[in-house]
């Protein structure tokens, strides 16, 4: 009823190309932001932060990153886990080498370092395409995990081979280390996610985004109308890896605190992020959020129901979860290859005319 574009006239092209052209959407967006920044921090406790909100925020950053590369630029990558590891180890080395510099700067620098590594592993994309490339990115995955396992310099020669985050503060509040409070973790990740999502939206609606999508939809035609495939693909790899690196840095420093590379950043992680963007929606900012939320909530939910209420063994529940996730991937690819974002879009289109569709 309230969801109408009739009467919502645009008088300039700038107005017409804004993110939420419909007034109701805009209002809802402001409401979500207000709740996220103004309400949740006062109610969040350790359980909700660690089980739901912090992993969701961090995975959303990673999903945004992979969506830029895969959803917008069409280059499928299975190296996400490896690139997250680069971010994690980069931030660890920076934190321990320059303790006096702000953690925020370290996280961003870790993203930058990951971007450089991403470009390096993106170079083959100029010659190989499709799933050849997907398989090639596995090289990055396996090599990087091996590297961080085998070269002691990366984990500062610690006996366990693990890395663990020392305490660092932002504006006097600890955001890493053991004494971090739930609201501090949450807000730190939320602010970074908010900024990165806003940048991603701007990039994807403008010139760069169009270049990426042109390469995705038909790379040969794109080159003939003047898109330089080299710089376009590499820019996608760079920006995507930046996001994934930031996500990896936060995953290690804020969320887990201590990390063993094969366990935290193995190939399963690459698939998990890929599944997030498939289920959420390829080529959609909203889809990155939706997919991350879905795959963070699903295990929590299943665990609560199967283990908590029905009293099943945890390994049985884990296997059921595998089956459900696998089946969902197949179902989404069959029924709605554009994921939850597309379902949302269709629902909105219906809603626009509701309750008088004729």
């Amino acid at each position: 009823m309230f969801y109408r574009e009739a009467g919502d006239f645009k008088t300039s092209y700038a107005d017409d190309s804004q993110t939420f052209p419909i007034r109701f959407d805009r209002l809802r967006y402001y409401a979500v932001i207000a709740v996220a920044f103004g309400v949740i921090p006062f109610f969040i406790n350790d359980y909700w932060a660690n089980a739901v909100f912090v992993p969701f925020l961090i995975y959303a950053i990673a999903a945004l990153g992979l969506n830029i590369l895969t959803g917008y630029c069409g280059q499928v990558s299975l190296g996400t886990g490896g690139f997250m590891a680069v971010g994690a180890y980069a931030v660890y080395k920076l934190m321990t080498a320059f303790p006096e510099v702000s953690i925020l700067i370290h996280v961003l620098l870790a993203g930058g370092i990951t971007a450089v590594v991403g470009v390096l592993f993106g170079l083959p994309s100029l010659r190989i395409k499709g799933f050849y490339l997907a398989v090639a990115t596995l090289a990055a995955q396996f090599f990087l995990v091996w590297l961080f396992n085998k070269v002691p310099w990366f984990y500062n020669y610690s006996a366990s081979g693990q890395i663990s985050a020392p305490e660092r503060t932002v504006l006097g509040h600890a955001v890493t280390g053991a004494s971090t409070t739930a609201p501090a973790k949450y807000l730190f990740c939320l602010i970074i996610l908010f900024a990165l999502a806003w940048l991603a939206r701007n990039l994807t609606r403008g010139t760069v985004g169009r270049k990426w999508m042109a390469i995705r939809d038909m790379d040969i035609a794109a080159e003939i109308i003047g898109v330089n495939p080299l710089t376009t693909k590499l820019s996608a790899f760079a920006i995507s890896s930046f996001y994934i690196g930031v996500a990896g840095a936060l995953f290690f420093s804020v969320y887990l605190g201590a990390v063993e590379v094969g366990e935290a950043f193995g190939i399963q992680k690459s698939f998990l992020i890929l599944f997030m963007i498939i289920i959420g929606g390829l080529g959609s900012i909203f889809g990155s959020f939706a997919g991350a939320a879905f795959l963070v909530l699903l295990p929590v939910l299943l665990k609560n129901i199967l283990v908590g209420h029905l009293g099943w063994a945890t390994d049985l529940a884990a296997h059921v979860e595998l089956m459900i996730v696998g089946a969902l991937i197949v179902i989404f690819l069959i029924a709605e290859p554009h994921g939850m974002a597309q379902l949302w879009r269709l629902a909105k289109e219906k809603l626009r005319l509701w309750p008088f569709p004729h």
């Binding site: 499928v76 083959p124 010659r127 190989i128 395409k129 499709g130 799933f131 050849y132 997907a134 398989v135 090639a136 596995l138 090289a139 396996f142 090599f143 995990v145 091996w146 396992n149 085998k150 070269v151 040969i220 035609a221 003939i224 190939i267 698939f271 890929l274 599944f275 498939i278 029905l310 009293g311 099943w312 063994a313 390994d315 049985l316 296997h319 059921v320 979860e321 595998l322 089956m323 459900i324 996730v325 696998g326 089946a327 969902l328 991937i329 197949v330 690819l333 069959i334 290859p337």
Partner: protein, 328 residues
């Protein structure tokens, strides 16, 4: 001959044997890719599933025992019989055919004409599903698989090489059996696809779906056929790997070993899968032998990928793949 060289030769030979097993998995990929353009990531999980089912039949396990116990509070485990290996293999083969029919019916049929990369991602989903299914049906514990294949060091080779070179090569009997089986499998598949009616239909489908349909070839039958064959190849691979190192989750990771083999050999070439497997098997063992100790070892995890990647940059279609000509 210096010892170092002898060790290297031994490592290389063992690599060749491992390569045969890689080829075996890669073969399953190639078959499906040729017939349907699907890059089947689930091939490794198919092998795991086949091996789990085989062990389950052999030991008379009750399928879904865990789930049934959890839901109904029963305490079921086994039927209490042991099937002979050959019967279990035949039964497992039948299960793989059934699986092929289910996959065709509930997945592939709905994904006709989708982009290859979508199909690829769908098979990743299938891999997850099958892995969960296999674990729920048969339990996730490590199982011993024994269908009566010879195991352990081959004494003849050991003695002969010791007498000739002064150093006895360690070659596992199982590896030799695997090589022979792989060779037989390749020969019979080649004969099948070249000389049988179904084989011709299969090649027609591989060439052009539309054209094959228009001359009255049933696409669905061909797909079931191909996935059944792939399931059978997976069963063979599962038996070999399972006999060697037990049936457990890591068995499905042989798919990850087969991927670089395919990149190297080309996705559409059966000889490519064989040669690629041998090159990678031998290459990674030799690399580990010569370079591994200098950089911390365990290079097998990524060497195959690095090799394939390097190779692809110079020859994107792989060793035996057809040249890609771009048109507008």
């Amino acid at each position: 001959m210096p010892d170092q060289l002898l060790y290297a030769i031994e490592a290389g030979l063992n690599g060749l044997m491992a390569g045969v097993l890689y080829s075996l998995v890669a073969l399953g990929f190639v078959l499906i890719f040729k017939a349907s353009g699907i890059f089947n990531y689930a091939q490794g999980v198919l092998a795991l599933f086949a091996a789990l089912t085989l062990v389950g039949f052999q030991n008379g396990q009750i399928p879904f025992a865990h789930l049934i116990n959890a839901v109904f509070g029963t305490d079921l485990h086994e039927f209490g019989w042991h099937l002979p290996a050959i019967v279990a293999i035949v039964l497992t083969g039948a299960v793989m055919v059934g699986l092929a029919i289910i996959i065709e019916r509930y997945v592939l049929k709905h994904l006709v004409n989708q982009a290859p990369i979508i199909l690829f991602m769908a098979t990743i989903g299938m891999a997850y599903f099958l892995e969960g299914l296999g674990d729920i049906m048969w339990g996730a514990d490590i199982k011993k698989l024994d269908v009566g294949l010879p195991q352990g060091i081959n004494e003849t080779i050991d003695t002969v090489t010791f007498n000739a070179l002064g150093y006895g090569f360690f070659i596992d009997n199982l590896d030799i059996v695997a090589s022979v089986v792989a060779a037989l499998l390749v020969i019979s598949l080649t004969i099948f696809s070249q000389y049988s009616k179904q084989g011709r239909a299969l090649r027609a489908v591989a060439d052009d779906h539309q054209a094959a349909l228009s001359v009255g070839i049933s696409l669905r039958f061909i797909w079931v056929l191909v996935w059944s064959i792939a399931g059978f190849v997976a069963l063979v691979a599962g038996i070999m790997w399972g006999s060697k190192s037990g049936v457990q989750f890591s068995l499905s990771l042989i798919a990850l070993k087969a991927l670089p083999v395919l990149m190297l050999g080309g996705f559409t070439s059966i000889p490519g899968a064989i040669v690629g497997g041998l090159i990678i098997g031998m290459g990674e063992k030799l690399f580990e032998f010569f370079v591994g100790p200098m950089i911390g070892g365990a290079t097998e995890n990524w060497f195959a990928y690095a090799l394939a990647l390097l190779f692809l940059v110079f020859r994107p279609q792989g060793l035996f793949g057809e040249k890609i000509i771009e048109r507008v």
